[in-house]
């Protein structure tokens, strides 16, 4: 292993006479700067756009007549557009950036091909833009979380692949041959995403499978995207940052590795619980119900790792704001995975299936787990790449409080609302209009949660743009000086 690592090193393009054998942390961060700024800033903008669209969709449930004349603002378009903007525009985009940075840092190697990675980021954002506009103006494809029209997936796939290849090449030429457990999660997530996304897009949009097979592929995709891409990459980020910020080792890496393999074994089988009592053969549902129950194994392992690593004095964190976000995200992971296990049990699904409870689970996964982990990582990474501290600690506080309050409010409102809705739906005499009114009350509470989230997201974007403004100051000054210097 050592010998091969050394040969690799001699072939590494960066290891020329001028470059040092050991790269400084600052060099590594600087190498990631351009593509990651692109991914993080556009991610933050997409997050805000998604919240606007989500609020538009939610408000229509209380005032169905609002904007009724505009086809593109109808709820059947704003809702999938909001979800896809959140997932592809924000979630996948920022996680991909963070994963790339972790691979560089863990391998002690600057990002190779950072220009290519930036082009990948542009392709990805072009894909998301065309996709979201496509949903709004020509309608969704009809598939959950794959609602973008056929023009978007090739751009998204190309953008993702370019960045993933840059990350893999950097990984290959790494200076630190030892692997850390985050490597597994992050590299696994890259591998899984490429597979599930390409297979699902091909089987749903380009060479469609027949009949209900489409629903099977769709459920397989959404479940894997949540558990393997978001879950896998998210855990990789959590297991990287918590020990780093607390300055003590993960307890224990072996347990985290056990969680990784059990996740890889059980999670991919569990997707069809989303079709419980649906029109598919029973053996498929049984297989998924079993696998879904078994995902409690990685969950317990993850919970034990978090519990024992977080136990102790956490007041002297390297970057307290980052730790706050990531710790909340880690707890949200445990909650959302536990919720998924419970909602996937047939006895519970008889009540909660096809209700707001499942929407609440999805939104809490995205706003409570994915977003919080991403925010925490960005709060750590960005000031180090830009060498500029966050301009306002106050905005960070606002962001944190709003994000927690909004995510928790949405989760509780939709969970309780979903259970009430499910019980009432199972009474054959319960009138559907009264039921809808009742739902509206819970969904209304969740809508307030969306507004609270939006306030936090706005604070985050403002802080990020201010930081970029300060970071760009010398460059702007230099340009102004050159222009002035040109004139006598």
């Amino acid at each position: 292993m050592n010998a091969s690592a050394r040969t690799v090193e001699t072939h590494a393009p960066a290891a020329t006479a001028e470059t040092p054998a050991v790269f400084s942390v600052a060099q590594i961060d600087a190498s990631c700067r351009d593509p990651l700024f692109l991914l993080f800033v556009s991610g933050a903008i997409w997050l805000l756009i998604s919240s606007f669209l989500g609020i538009l969709a939610a408000i229509k449930l209380h005032a169905p007549g609002l904007f009724a004349g505009s086809e593109w603002l109808t709820v059947g378009r704003t809702r999938p557009a909001a979800m896809d903007a959140l997932i592809y525009g924000f979630g996948i985009q920022t996680f991909l950036g963070i994963a790339t940075w972790i691979i560089c840092r863990l391998g002690r190697m600057p990002l190779l091909g950072h220009r290519a990675a930036a082009i990948g980021g542009i392709l990805w954002n072009l894909g998301v833009t065309l996709g979201v506009l496509g949903i709004l103006f020509s309608g969704s494809t009809g598939f959950e979380w794959l609602a973008m029209p056929r023009i978007a997936p090739p751009l998204l796939f190309a953008g993702f692949s370019v960045i993933a290849v840059c990350a893999l090449v950097t990984f290959h030429f790494r200076r630190e041959s030892d692997l850390y457990v985050s490597h597994w999660y992050v590299l696994g997530a890259l591998f899984w995403f490429v597979w599930i996304y390409s297979a699902s897009v091909l089987l749903l949009l380009y060479f469609p499978a027949r009949g209900v097979m489409q629903a099977v592929v769709n459920a397989w995709y959404t479940s894997n995207l949540a558990q393997l891409w978001f879950g896998g990459a998210g855990l990789g980020i959590i297991f990287y940052f918590i020990p780093k910020l607390l300055n003590r080792p993960l307890r224990t890496s072996t347990m985290a590795a056990f969680a990784f393999w059990t996740l890889a074994l059980f999670a991919p089988w569990s997707g069809l619980v989303q079709l419980l009592s649906g029109p598919v053969p029973a053996w498929m549902l049984s297989a998924s119900v079993f696998a879904n129950a078994m995902t409690i194994t990685p969950l317990i392992a993850v919970a034990m790792v978090l519990w024992s690593t977080l136990a102790g004095d956490n007041s002297k964190a390297v970057e307290p704001s980052a730790l706050r976000f990531i710790t909340f995200g880690a707890k949200a992971y445990v909650i959302v995975t536990a919720t998924s296990i419970v909602l996937g049990m047939p006895i519970v699904a008889r009540v909660t299936h096809l209700t707001w409870a499942e929407v609440g689970r999805n939104l809490f996964g995205l706003y409570g787990f994915v977003a919080m982990v991403a925010f925490g990582a960005i709060y750590y990474i960005v000031p180090r790449m830009a060498r500029v501290p966050w301009p306002s600690g106050k905005l960070v506080n606002v962001h944190f409080r709003c994000s927690v309050a909004g995510a928790v409010l949405i989760y509780l409102a939709l969970m309780v609302g979903g259970v009430v809705q499910g019980f009432r739906m199972n009474l054959a005499f319960a009138d559907f209009i009264t039921l809808g009114k009742l739902n509206a009350a819970f969904v209304g509470t969740a809508t307030i949660g969306l507004f609270v989230l939006l306030a936090g997201q706005a604070a985050f974007l403002m802080n990020l743009l201010k930081l970029l403004h300060i970071w760009g100051e010398p460059a702007r000054k230099a340009i102004v000086d050159t222009v002035r210097g040109g004139r006598p």
Partner: protein
């Protein structure tokens, strides 16, 4: 712990297994289904949708109807089962894979803000009712949460369409969408989803059905 090819192999094997189990195997089973003859009439089920309904399906997809409406009737496996889909009149039997054979995209839906539509064409057969309901749901269903779809109609300011005159205002898109809604019926009895007992004896009595297909019928 330190061997990337080994990790990759592990990932490949675990994921390939699940791909084979949840994508390839179902494809071999339900991806290869074909139409079966209707026991009562002998016509293939499901048959392709008529042209207008096929166009209407694109409107249904594009306006995102499936965001709030499911298209699946859930079975009641036992007396302790809660599902009341059939008791609500959303269908006379539960839906199975066969019902969606010719659909693209299959929009089962995952949230019931509004009622299930698997059998809306059998439940409400009045075309004008559907048109008027799309124009302004609250006119026909008071306090409905459904949005209005005025852009599917050519209504000049001042004109007040009624349920009788709405057809006159409807665009082709609206008429196609309603044709699609009227085509949504999963009432043909199937081997894997027979009609519940009280209703099976009533209509044709099996005399019109070809004998060859009758052998597929479940024991009464």
């Amino acid at each position: 712990m330190n061997n990337p090819p080994f990790i990759f192999l592990g990932l490949l094997i675990t994921f390939l297994a699940s791909f084979a189990g949840l994508v390839v195997a179902p494809q071999m089973q339900i991806g290869r289904q074909v139409s079966v003859p209707d026991k009562l009439t002998g016509t293939p089920y499901p048959s392709a949708r008529p042209g207008l309904a096929a166009k209407g399906k694109e409107i249904y997809r594009s306006l995102g109807c499936a965001e709030c409406h499911t298209r699946q009737v859930r079975p009641k496996y036992s007396n302790t089962d809660f599902s009341t889909d059939i008791a609500r009149g959303w269908g006379n039997r539960f839906t199975v894979a066969q019902d969606y054979l010719n659909d693209y995209p299959v929009m089962l839906g995952n949230l019931r803000v509004g009622p299930d539509l698997a059998n809306i064409g059998a439940r409400q057969t009045n075309e004008n009712w559907h048109l008027f309901h799309l124009y302004d749901p609250r006119e026909v269903v008071p306090k409905s949460l459904m949005p209005r779809y005025p852009f599917l109609f050519n209504v000049k300011p001042g004109a007040r369409p009624t349920i009788e005159s709405i057809h006159h205002f409807a665009t082709d898109d609206a008429k196609n969408l309603v044709a699609y809604l009227l085509s949504l019926q999963a009432t043909t009895p199937l081997f894997e989803s027979p009609l519940p007992l009280p209703q099976t004896n009533a209509p044709a009595g099996g005399t019109n059905a070809p004998a060859a297909t009758d052998t597929n019928a479940p024991a009464k």
